[in-house]
């Protein structure tokens, strides 16, 4: 070896394992430290999530750690200064905690719902949710409502697990993979690992996406669909499958509600509900017995198709008959939807047939013995190796819930769920459909001072009685979740909080705590006006949102608006859990959770928000955090994690439980749990034995473990719901055919009646229904760049070199026809406003679609950057154009621009027009006054940076 090449001096180095937090994928990292400085962050080869690889963000963690935007000390808005002016004073931690405790004590002892606590991209919802529940406010949610609740809800109301983070494609055995509207996803590295595996094995990868970049770039087939049309496309596939009898009888009859009988009494109460026996069991028609029998029984032979007359004389028909009637209709024929979808009839039919071919003629079989939940033994597992995955391209439309249900319908028809080669569940999923958890809606409890909620603020309603509304039918939550406007808002509507609170609709609040959400910038719709709302005052000169607390680690646009700032640590500086009670990091073959622990020291006066929450909970004497004698139960976060039990034996961490650490998933607290995790490279994985890996919705051995571990309530079959009765109940209420609450306002009756179809349907996205397609001819979208996480990564010196300005992309042919060319400045206008942006043309973009990278545009001075950073001067946010409210309609209250079922923010429904800027009109618009440097920051930035962690290196 050449003498010149010096390898490292390992004597000076230390290797530690933790979990990445440059995004929500939560990969395992192996961190090499050299005399306390981060030398190298690489993927942990043993980690189930990333198996050794690491993405660009993860590899740039060093530059996040050494960011100039890190907060240094608690800050309070300077007395006499205006909110948003950026004038802050440093205060001590005790002061900050005292101020907030006093405020919260007052709220809690008067009207607890005057506290709204909303969290963004956080990975500790189990803790923040528990905290809110203990406080007693219903006004808590994480980012799911503006993120992808459509996927979660559609899955949890249909198949028991879902896209998003509750399932993953079986990359090892899939032979056909169809990806709907995904640019990057939470499973960032696993998808990349998986796509390569799939292609290496010769599987076919089809991407349905208006834009061809990233994953779509490597697709074997690209389907440039028109935005918002996937539901129609999917249902046309259903049409093709049904019309050729290409569906899996056994799967449908065993594992779905396809044979259940639906009552057919149009215009009467009970119409569209399942025919049930006394005990409430759904009935089916038994072909052998020629009688109605409970669909929950074993040893029956249910009829898949047919109309029958129930003993009480009502007409009933099977779910599959309803489906056949609906989807065999010519309006779903490929040739009749092709133009609207922007996909040729030939392609629709071919994709449908290719999937069926692979599902039915290229099955995979394993000799695995397993027992079904009815107790029968099977000697093999058969996989129909078609896998799917879908995300925000489906979710972020106001028809996304139903579109996603349509995709699940295809999976059910093909019998391609949780088998080898399928989309498979990740523990703690599958769960009962929907999960047995209702949102707190007892007004007495909600309104009671100093009282915790009896159950979490969020859950899954199944009937109108489950809504969180007052006696007049008005919303009780500040985001109006679980009101008639959005009945199934399982993740809340974070994107409505500031608007509603400012309008004091349904009521004024006192304090808003935002944790890890940049709601004054990229994670809000209508950014410019929302900034205005944060400053808005009433006639007495008081802020409409009286007190705004922000818990953040960095100098973001949001912190600028805070009255009180709690500075957080970075991911390399704190203890943290990635819990199975939360959004799991499990893989289909293993239940898994993970931790973080401090790897580097921190020289600032900052504290983990986890610690702050436990501290506040103790000061406020939340029951779960307080001993009988009134003293605090947990010394801090570490102690809390070890000793808190949600149910006996079940806590935040599933590994090394039991006094001696010998138990998994369930067991008494283990005082050495953290040490055990650290020893095991900061993660825990419980690998499922072969007999528990597949068909877990009906796998006895699996369900027994799941019940024991608290994943499911009891061992019973999880029957997938093609036809969703909860939806129908709401529809009946809207139509006045329900004995129970009914929507008082006409607009809600219409919306629910139309959109709460118990069968997957397609309808035109709501904004599109209200704006003139001729005037606003383009669909405007965003995509996540693989190397940037929302707003965080512009502070990262390495990543911003790759992407410091986002362009506005348009199909090249289209641009040419419009006389536009690369680097032209153009105006983009929606019903909500206009922005000026710089254009680039490309081939791989559907002709009616324009798009840009999400969250690259920044407010000057934020994120430790200088005011003239190109992120601020040339980069832009599409969000200014997106309204959180639908365009107004006469005689109707303003309604959220969200999916009418789930409240999912409809980011991608946006329609715009594009025209060339006048000569001389350059730079992005609107521009905002730059943020002032925070106390302790001179605002000076070095001209060069020469990071080098090697202690022996000099040049």
């Amino acid at each position: 070896m050449n003498a010149l090449v010096k390898t490292e001096n390992h004597a000076k180095q230390e290797i530690k394992y933790s979990t990445c937090y440059m995004c929500a994928c939560r990969c395992g990292i192996k961190v090499t430290l050299e005399e306390g400085k981060v030398r190298f962050i690489q993927g942990n080869r043993n980690h189930p999530t990333n198996q050794g690889v690491l993405c660009a963000k993860g590899s740039a963690g060093i530059m996040k750690q050494y960011s100039q935007a890190k907060l240094r000390k608690p800050l309070i808005r300077k007395e006499g200064s205006e909110r948003g002016e950026g004038a802050f004073e440093e205060i001590e931690w005790d002061q900050a905690l005292d101020i907030l405790t006093a405020r919260l004590e007052k709220i809690r002892s008067t009207d607890p719902k005057k506290l709204a606590f909303f969290t963004g991209r956080d990975q500790m919802q189990a803790l923040t949710g528990l905290w809110a529940q203990q406080f007693g406010t219903p006004n808590w949610a994480a980012h799911g409502g503006f993120c992808s609740v459509n996927m979660a809800a559609a899955g949890l109301y249909s198949i028991g697990f879902s896209f998003w983070e509750f399932g993953a494609p079986d990359w090892d055995y899939a032979k056909y993979f169809i990806m709907w509207g995904v640019a990057e996803d939470h499973s960032s590295n696993p998808i990349k690992i998986g796509l390569e595996k799939l292609k290496r094995h010769g599987g076919k990868f089809v991407s349905v996406n208006p834009v061809r970049t990233g994953y779509s770039a490597i697709a074997d087939e690209w389907v440039p669909i028109r935005p918002g049309m996937d539901g129609l496309f999917a249902l046309s596939i259903v049409h093709v499958l049904l019309s050729r009898e290409l569906f899996d009888y056994e799967f449908l009859l065993r594992y779905t509600n396809s044979p259940w009988l639906v009552v057919q009494t149009p215009g009467q109460k009970g119409d569209g509900l399942f025919l049930r026996d006394e005990a409430g069991n759904p009935l089916v028609w038994d072909l052998e017995k020629q009688a109605f029998v409970s669909g929950m029984d074993a040893n029956i032979t249910p009829a898949m198709f047919g109309e029958f007359v129930a003993p009480d004389g009502r007409k009933v028909k099977t779910v599959m008959s309803v489906a056949a009637e609906e989807y065999l209709d010519d309006r779903y024929a490929p040739e009749n939807v092709a133009e609207q979808c922007g996909v040729s009839a030939e392609t629709i039919e071919r994709v449908a047939l290719e999937m069926a071919e692979v599902a039915f003629r290229e099955t995979v079989e394993f000799d695995i013995e397993w027992t079904d939940v009815w107790g029968r033994k099977h000697d093999k597992v058969v996989g129909r190796p078609v896998a799917m995955y879908a995300m925000r391209g489906i979710a972020a439309h106001s028809n996304g819930f139903q579109a996603c249900r349509a995709i699940h319908l295809i999976q059910m028809l093909l019998g391609a769920l949780d088998g080898p080669g399928n989309f498979r569940a990740r523990a703690p999923y599958p769960k009962p459909i929907p999960p047995h958890q209702l949102p707190e809606n007892n007004l007495d409890i909600i309104n009671a001072p100093n009282t915790s909620l009896s159950r979490p603020p969020l859950g899954f309603p199944t009937k109108p009685e489950d809504l969180v509304i007052d006696k007049d039918g008005n919303p009780v939550r500040i985001d109006k979740a679980y009101s008639w406007e959005i009945p199934f808002a399982s993740h809340g509507l974070m994107h409505m909080v500031i608007t509603n609170a400012t309008r004091q609709d349904p009521y004024p609040i006192d304090t808003l705590i935002l944790f890890m959400a940049n709601m004054a910038w990229n994670s809000t719709m209508n950014t410019k006006n929302v900034q205005g709302m944060l400053r808005e005052k009433d006639e007495n000169g008081n802020y409409k949102i009286p007190f705004l607390v922000v818990a953040d680690a960095f100098h973001s646009e949001m912190t600028n608006f805070a009255d009180l700032i709690f500075p957080d640590t970075t991911y390399l500086e704190r203890y943290d859990t990635i819990s199975l009670l939360d959004r799991p990091i499990s893989e289909p073959d293993a239940a898994a959770d993970a931790i973080r622990h401090p790897l580097v020291g921190q020289e600032r006066d900052v504290r983990p928000w986890q610690e702050v929450l436990v501290e506040l909970a103790s000061r406020l004497k939340f029951p779960a955090f307080t001993k009988e004698d009134g003293s605090r139960k947990f010394s801090g976060y570490k102690d809390f994690i070890v000793n808190y039990e949600r149910m006996p034996g079940i806590g935040f961490l599933a590994g090394w439980r039991g006094k001696d650490g010998s138990k998994s998933l369930k067991g008494e607290p283990n005082p050495n749990q953290w040490e055990k995790y650290i020893e095991n490279q900061s993660f825990f994985a419980h690998h499922w034995p072969d007999n528990q890996k597949y068909m877990r919705y009906a796998n006895k051995d699996y369900l027994e473990v799941a019940a024991d571990a608290g994943f499911v309530g009891k061992v019973e079959p999880i029957i997938m719901q093609i036809y969703s009765e909860p939806l129908q109940k709401f529809r009946l209420a809207a139509r006045g055919l329900y004995d129970g609450p009914q929507p008082p306002q006409q607009v809600d009756r219409e919306r629910i009646s139309k959109y709460f179809d118990p069968m997957p349907v397609w309808y035109e996205p709501l904004e599109m229904q209200r704006v003139d397609e001729k005037e606003y001819p383009f669909h405007a979208l965003t995509q996540r760049p693989m190397l940037m996480y929302h707003s965080w990564d512009s502070q990262n010196v390495w990543l911003r070199q790759i992407l410091a300005q986002n362009y506005f992309y348009m199909n090249a042919g289209q641009a040419e026809r419009m006389g536009l060319k690369d680097y032209d400045w153009v105006w983009v206008e929606s019903h909500n406003g206009k922005i000026r942006v710089q254009l680039k043309t490309m081939e791989g973009c559907q002709e009616n679609t324009v798009w840009t990278w999400n969250a690259i545009g920044k407010q000057g001075g934020a994120w430790g950057l200088t005011a003239d950073a190109s992120e601020a001067k040339k980069g832009f946010l599409l969000n200014h154009l997106i309204s959180e409210l639908l365009p107004p309609k006469q005689g109707e209250r303003r309604i959220t621009n969200s999916d009418p079922v789930t409240g999912q923010a409809a980011w991608f429904d946006l329609r715009v027009k594009v025209y060339k800027a006048a000569p001389g009109e350059q730079g992005s618009w609107p521009q905002f006054p730059p943020l002032k440097p925070l106390p302790g920051d001179s605002g000076e930035r070095p001209d060069v940076l020469r990071y080098n962690a090697r202690s022996d290196s000099k040049e």
Binding site: S188, R244, E354, L787, Q801, R941, Y947
Partner: protein, 231 residues
Amino acid sequence: MRLGLVIDLDVCVGCHACAVSCKQWNASGTTGALTDYDPYGAEPSGVWFNRIRHFEVGTYPESKTINFPMSCMHCEDADCVTVCPTGASYKRAEDGIVLVDQRKCMGCNYCSWACPYGARELDRESGTMKKCTLCVDRIYDQEIPVEERQPACVLTCPAHARMFGDFDDQQSAVSRAVRERGGYQLLPELGYNPTNHYLPVRKHKPIETEGLGKPGFKERLKGLANRVVKI
């Protein structure tokens, strides 16, 4: 030995992980630091050894997007070495790795002119030319686990689109991949004989669906369509 990389264009998703990991490793590596200019300012820039470009081939709707990572190709006939007046640039006889001796380089840029692949970047602060070292300070480090004695970019690539190995060894994974997948060199007409190879896009064979399913179920449904399945 002839060490180098194979890049699989069929699976590269253009995530820039390899570029950033390379930056990370080498910032504190043999030729570190790798200076960043205007890091927090208007026009950030810096020294990188590996850059990912993105191309489009063909026109809409038949267009294909190609993500295209490029680093030093460790050419057999490396003019960057022959033109270097100081001898700072050299190609190692034992494994073909092309390196720049930071102690000898005078920063004349000449070698970068001779490189067709944009593999060399001058560090204005040190005044020296820098380039991909093929992670020579990893691959021979006897103190790290064997499976980690790979370039940082290869280890990190989430799509496993990068392979490292010996092209002189006909049995090596890289040699086999190039043989089996039709691996090719960039700008072959210039005669540099680059060691790194690129694997072209795979063509998926059409899926035959002949005779699949019986059309006309809508009609059949009027009669008896049920199958007896015991639950």
